[in-house]
Symmetry: C2
């Protein structure tokens, strides 16, 4: 019989039954952080708690629960002496579905119809559009972008990708480097923001970029609020210089009561629900199961974080 490495995996701060099973199914044994080879951190909102836990743990690998890890980066937790994985990629489908929901809501004017209490608002006309034939620019085409491109295929919308490298994204009609954003944004009917929030991408969609959008184009954000300059966006929306904005994330977030975005006819806000905890949990359990197996076998883990880049 082969000798097998059974890693001790701590699940902190809270370990629900499904996650405990996932560790066992992956070939690990659940234990305390002090004795742990690896650590599954389950609270996306508590980077300081993780810092404290790690002070007393020599765990070599840490699994983070969500895809966006900028709060952990900001808290200085991402120690490059350990191996870090996050949940990038695995929530792509859920987030892409929400992006599609927002795009269809915008093009079919559902944000306005939902608020109406009469069949035809006077002067409203028929501004509904089909997504078919429109151009969708996906900014930061990673896991979300790839799934969104698949969903847009039967709808027959044109998908154009923007990423850091400019390396061709499968299924996209064209791929551009992020440096070309200003040149290509003017062709888009929808601009969907799916990028990670880093020092480089903060405020990526500012006054200049918004100013080059078509006057009936919508911006959709399912990534992080900080990628868009909120003041510039409110200005563009108030003056109807763009078609509208559908935002699942905002800056600040939560969006405070009375914020101008709540009162705009051409804005649609959803409260960060593209990938809720209920949606995420089954996917996260499956990832933990796979990664514990890979870790036990000494293989490369899924969702590796590059500490230098911060995602």
């Amino acid at each position: 019989m082969e000798s097998t490495f059974v890693p001790v995996v701590a699940i902190v701060p809270f370990a629900e039954d499904g996650m405990v099973s996932a560790v066992a199914e992956g070939g690990g044994r659940v234990g305390d952080p002090q004795d742990a080879d690896a650590l599954v951190w389950t609270d996306p909102r508590d980077p300081e708690g993780l810092k404290d836990t790690l002070a007393a743990s020599s765990a070599r690998w840490i699994q983070l629960p969500f895809a966006g890890i900028e709060s952990f980066v900001a808290a200085g937790v991402i120690d490059p002496g350990r191996t870090w994985t996050c949940a990038k990629g695995i929530y792509g489908h859920a987030c892409a579905e929400h992006a599609l929901a927002l795009m269809l809501a915008a093009s079919r004017q559902i944000h306005r119809h939902a608020r109406a209490t009469t069949w035809r608002e006077p002067g409203f006309g028929s501004p509904e559009r089909r997504l078919k034939g429109l151009t969708v620019l996906i900014v930061g085409a990673g896991g979300i972008g790839r799934e969104l491109i698949r969903m847009l295929e039967p709808i027959e919308a044109r998908a154009v990708a923007v990423n850091r490298s400019g390396n061709e994204v499968p299924g996209a009609d064209a791929t551009h480097k992020v440096g070309e954003l200003q040149e290509v944004i003017g062709d888009a009917d929808f601009v969907v923001v799916t990028a990670a929030l880093t020092d480089e991408t903060r405020g990526l969609i500012g006054r200049d970029v918004l100013g080059r959008m078509k006057s009936d184009a919508w911006i959709v954000n399912v990534a992080r609020g900080g990628l868009i300059e909120t003041d510039a966006l409110v200005e563009a929306l108030s003056e109807s210089r763009i078609g509208g904005a559908a935002l699942d994330v905002t800056d600040p977030e939560p969006l405070p009561d009375g914020h101008p975005l709540w009162g705009l006819d051409n804005a649609l806000i959803t409260p960060h629900v593209a990938n809720t905890w209920d949606m995420a949990l089954p996917e996260l359990r499956a990832l933990v199961r796979r990664n514990v197996g890979l870790f036990a076998g000494g293989e490369e883990l899924e969702g590796l974080v590059d500490p230098a880049r911060g995602y």
Copy 2:
């Protein structure tokens, strides 16, 4: 040189330039109804006008502008001595896109988020769901249903079809006869109504059928309001016996101001915009071009109406 039949085609009551070109491109010549071999009727809301026009025309073929022709049937215009075509099938994609928009709006709670003016309504929780993995029952799976099934594929929802014959619908996980509706409706998370309105289908979704739906299932109607019994639906919605209703068509239509459906939290109304005239016109022009060509060549036309069935 072959002798070619150049049919005279009247375009009434209004002939926009694109339709005139479509007739010419199809190999026809535009003329008056009195001399016409064929007639393209462009006003979906005026069956009586068509009756008057036909009294003075021996046109052998009449092209109707929309897919649902029940008002022409009711007016007794569909004389079986002539050949009738309608626009069935060609608007399937636009209507399927709207059905998808309504389903995603419902599952992602966009109807409620659009009305909110605060990040989290007290007690609202996180009732958002993914479409992935849910079961969508498509009642009357014709042109709209086929396109919707394609759109649901990358979303990974399960599509089940119900039609008159029970003949397998391509891409559906299962197909049932309409007589089995009561047995299969209890498995559905979404019931999408896409059937033609005929004497047989009027009130198809009544109290009994609604009573067998899951308590969190939504009904979506992009076909005709008369397929659903409105009073029974209002009752089911008011008592939260089903999840909700997203309706692009209503009975009565337009839905009058003050109607109970306007006030329900779990209802989403769009004013018959699944296929607006702006969306329809390019498709209708292309159909007229194809059908004029087929008519000139003596071939079978696209979108033939069965006068006995009324669709």
